[in-house]
Amino acid sequence: MSNKLINWFRYASPQTFYPLAGRMIPWFWGLAAIFGVAGLGIGFLLAPTDAQQGEGYRIIFLHVPASWMSMFIYLVMAFWAATGLAFNTRLSGMMASALAPTGALFAFLSLWTGALWGKPMWGTWWVWDARLTSELILLFLYIGFIALQAAIDDPRRADKAGAILALVGVVNIPIIYFSVKWWNTLHQGASVSLTKAPSMAAMMLWGMLLCALACWMYSIAVALMRVRVIMLERERHTDWVRALLAGRE
């Protein structure tokens, strides 16, 4: 084993990761706030009107980051699940469980903002097209993952079962992403309506990217917070948790 690997496994132990995560959380909150303010500022105050969609298009600054995060978090979750199965590290399972609720939140937000966008644009809250449907499936997968883990009391078992489900469900992600290409549907494909004058397009693009970064930082911060709670709960019989809780009244 190389030195690097040993180092990695050191941080993979809950005992060392817990304080590390605690130190990182404020930074991610700070970044999330900065990006969020900048992104929303550009998106809602500076960006010009869209020629086709009017002002309603501003939902894009919420909808696209939420959609991206919902897919991306699933991939990260599946990655942790795979590591957990392969190397049997305790931290991996905890990370996967910590990510799932946030992923579900973003999947829901993608649906919600999409529905609120659809009403003015398409005239209906919901249509059963491929993109929308596969995003709904993604939400179901998250909920299935959470429900499965909640139904199993032994955390080690819950981790493994959840990991298997997460890995099987990964096939859904490319389906969501490419659905607009494979089936021609109501939902627009990548990079629509960014075809106006280059400067405006750039402004919208920046707004979207900044908002996406904000959501990204937010997700990391929240996942770290949650993983700390999960660690306390699962490691409650260990000495380090006892010492920790005895220390700070």
């Binding site: 939420a66 903002t113 609120l116 966008w117 917070m225 306390l232 809780l245």
Partner: protein, 76 residues
Amino acid sequence: MIHWNSLAEFLAMGRHGPYVWGSLLVMALLMVAEPMLLLQGRKRLIARLRRQYRAEAAERGQAAAGGRSTANGSND
């Protein structure tokens, strides 16, 4: 530089106000609520664990002092 001429115009969002603000509001609410819930859950967990540790310590103290009554066969 700012795109809007008046607050009213900003709020109206070109007749799409409810949709845009509905999205932003729900998204913001949920994204604030999630960490709040987490902090609250964490507080509750820590309180519970502290209680549990105290109870265990007390029990151990008792066991050391007197020893627990053991099961025996008679029942009257």
